[in-house]
């Protein structure tokens, strides 16, 4: 299958790797699969991690990442370049993730105790993180402490709504400013500010004791 796409190559894979994203987008628009493949490779880790934090589930994150790239390609003609390609891609991915969570939330199989789709998945991931932390090299005590915090953060993230997770990821992980967040989520800046605050406040409440352990007097 991919070989058929490859016949529309304009540049080789090696050359694509040296090009700027804007140039790759232009080539992809003309049907250059190598160029689009390069874009995928360049951003897949970043968007996967973001979507993983929003969805809380590896398989979901993988599928969402794939879907985001597919949909982005399908919409390349509408990409005007006002924002960077990644911001645009990210917007597609976040929208997919949020839609995905909503579908899950209202799935007929949804369990009454589900707060936001599948907390069991978040708990399982938290456990996975706990095990990872126990196996890390270095100071066992420090690693255990760090692992404990990461597990708690992960579990607390699972208690947030997907919208709150998304805005936290945009700010804390992606480092977007409020204007960029507003572009991605299509929200006015005031809403970005209040929503981000609510997300942090919820996490703060969840993590309260752990945060206060190191609180300044």
């Amino acid at each position: 299958m991919a070989s058929k796409l490859g016949e529309a190559k304009v540049v080789g894979t090696a050359k694509a790797a040296s090009l700027e994203p804007e140039a790759l987008v232009q080539l992809a628009r003309r049907g250059d699969s190598a160029a689009y493949g390069e874009l995928v490779e360049r951003y897949q880790d970043r968007i996967y991690n973001a979507l993983y934090r929003i969805s809380g589930h590896r398989e979901d994150a993988r599928d969402l990442t794939q879907d985001a790239f597919v949909q982005a390609f399908a919409s390349l003609e509408s990409f005007r370049g006002r924002s960077g390609f990644y911001t645009w891609l990210f917007r597609i991915g976040v929208n997919l993730a949020l839609s995905h969570r909503r579908r899950q939330r209202f799935s007929p199989t949804r369990l009454p105790q589900d707060s936001d789709g599948n907390p069991a998945a978040w708990a399982a991931e938290a456990e996975h993180r706990r095990r990872l932390a126990g196996n890390r090299p270095g100071n066992p005590e420090q690693e255990a402490e760090r692992g404990e915090l990461q597990t708690a953060v992960w579990e607390a993230m699972g208690c947030l709504s997907a919208e709150h997770r998304a805005i936290l990821v945009l700010r804390e992980v992606e480092g977007f400013d409020y204007e960029q967040i507003g572009q991605v989520l299509e929200l006015p800046a005031g809403t970005v500010r209040s929503r981000l605050h609510r997300a942090r406040a919820a996490l703060r409440e969840q993590l309260g004791p752990m945060l206060r352990e190191g609180a300044e007097p």
Binding site: M1, A2, K4, L5, E7, A8, G31, S33, Y36, G37, V40, Q44, I47, Y48, N49, R53, A61, R62, T65, Q66, D67, V70, Q71, F73, A74, S75, L76, E77, S99, R102, R105, F106, S115, R146, L149, Q150, V153, W154, M157, L168, R171, E172, V173, D177, Y178, E186, L187, G190, T191, R193, L196, H197, R200, A201, L203, R204, L207, L211, A215, E216
Partner: protein, 462 residues
Amino acid sequence: MSEPNPQKIEQLTERLSAYLDGELGERERRQVEATLSRDETARRVLHELRAVSAAVRGLPVESSPADIRERVLRALERRELLEPMPGEPSSLPLRPAWRFARLVASAAIVALAASVGFLAIRWGLQRPADIQVARLEERTQAPPAPAAKSTRRGAEIGEELEYDGALLGERASDADSFTDVAEPQARQWRIDSVGQIHAASLETEAKGETSVLHPDRWTRQHFDAVQPQIIITVADSTSERAAQESVKRFFVTNRMLDARQLPPQASLAHNQLLYAQGQPGVNISDFDGDQFLMRAPPHMVDQLVRVVQTGVPEARIDFLGADMSWSVCSDGSADSADASAGPPLESSQAAVTFSGEAYATTQGSVDSLSQSGIAEVPSPANVGARVATSEAAARQSGASGPPQTALEGLPRTAGPQATQWLWDSARAQGPPIDVVIKLQVGGPATQGAWSPSTRPASGHPP
């Protein structure tokens, strides 16, 4: 720091959060810094917010699956392979260079369809296996103006097309033509606001994708794809006649362009004929004893609400669009579905309740409202809706009802605005709004009070 009230703490925390991000203006920043210099609690909160921020950033980064690139390219290719051109057998190979070029075009259309969302209305149609799959590339425009004639109202297939009790099948009046365009594997269908038919197979549905079917095969029977039907249910036949006259008078006296089919002194029989012929304009038909049904263009909807609300106190108006419907109850007497919506609303507020079989689409509508400033940010410039939480919405829907999400706290006059906006938006952008919107007006004080002049000055939710 003395014990401030919770609201002040909330405000302070929000400011500190924005301060942490360097997103405060100069004046606000100085105020926050002044507060921090004298307030230990503020310093502690800032520290904790900083810790929260660091904790989220500190989550370990993972590598994405190695095969993402291959999966993406494969998915693009697969999408192409599943969609043959009209008249071409699906197995007919195309030259690769053409394939990819066409892929760009077709995928864009698919994305358009996918981006507007998909609502699966389970119409339960059965189709022959050998019918032609339509091409989606050709479907870039809304269908042409409807044909003037359709005489098979309520055809057998139409009877299957029930959605929330509405005779959606009225618009699918020709069973043979309709099945002509069926996708072999499709099991779910919908017509969007510009009259496109979307079909989804089990496979594509799982991915949230649909195929858009060829327009030529069906537009002639979907004469009213961009017009809502309006069913007015009244308490008795006397009221029914009164409502009909009231509505007709309204169209005539307002010389509504879309009412051009209605002669000034049009008889009910004349209107019924027009309706049976599927003519655009104001066509009124007896429907079911205490109901009558009419067609009218969407932009008349809010005016109609006022007309009927003021003219016929005990009426419920069901608006049935190509892919949306909503009801207005003027008497506050909720039906069984409404009964699950919770306690009566304050007289100064109305609720717009979205429900549907696919929450994703419903939520998409809510999001659209939100993004357009209608929701969440009450201000004089918008209607100040507040989107209820999903949990609250789930409670409202009850154990057996469809999933619902509510816009609560709308000023009473916001209902028509919101529904009108939804409809306009659907027409302009084509997002599916396959929802039931119920404008429930509670309390006798609200009857006949849809005029904007009665909009409460403080009608926004707290």
